[in-house]
């Protein structure tokens, strides 16, 4: 599925490296930049 400008961003919850949990929808009211990494070289 190709996301386009104006589409609702798919919500998700993921663990952080520091052991917390992050939910995208909790950030409503703030712009968010999501950077999906390739492999860690």
């Amino acid at each position: 599925m190709m996301l386009r400008v104006g589409d609702p961003a798919p919500n998700f919850t993921l663990p952080t490296l520091d052991g917390e949990r992050f939910t995208l929808s909790d950030q409503r009211g703030h712009p968010v930049v999501l950077i999906f990494l390739r492999h860690l070289a």
């Binding site: 609702p8 490296l17 995208l24 703030h30 968010v32 999906f36 990494l37 390739r38 860690l40």
Partner: protein, 141 residues
């Protein structure tokens, strides 16, 4: 410029920046120590969020002539090369989500070296900010 070197600029704009990796936490910790990334790193080993954002795995794109040339030039400049930790076929991508939860910029990578610049990300954020909060602009005389 790398995004993680522009932390102050993103913070000044009230932007949350998140790095997402499908790699193991051990390697993510090593990468954080090496790069000094000050933004949160999210772990998606099952790659469910990668799929939700339409990010492909592609052998053809990973080893495209453009990519091979890029890494060959790096190697010849003496910048070294390290093997991939994890799945080299998984492509990344960059997305800006507006304060309303909608996509402002979508940039799934076409190949491993296809990433938007920091300025492109900042321009998308600033343009959306001006649309969302016109009343916060300074009054004209």
């Amino acid at each position: 410029m790398q995004v993680y070197r522009a932390k102050a600029t993103f913070e000044h704009l009230g932007v949350r920046v998140l790095f997402i990796t499908f790699g193991h936490a051990y390697w993510a910790e090593a990468w954080r120590a090496e790069t000094g990334v000050g933004f949160p790193i999210l772990l998606d080993q099952a790659r469910t969020v990668y799929r939700a954002y339409g990010l492909e795995r592609s052998l053809r794109r990973t080893y495209s002539p453009r990519t091979l040339l890029f890494y060959a030039k790096k190697f010849l400049r003496g910048e070294g090369w390290r093997p991939a930790r994890g799945d080299p076929r998984q492509l990344g991508g960059d997305f800006v989500v507006g304060a309303d939860g909608r996509i402002v910029l979508a940039h799934p990578s076409r190949d491993p070296i296809d990433r938007p610049s920091v300025n492109t990300l900042l321009e998308a954020i600033r343009a959306r900010g001006a649309e969302e909060a016109p009343c916060q602009l300074p009054p004209t005389a």
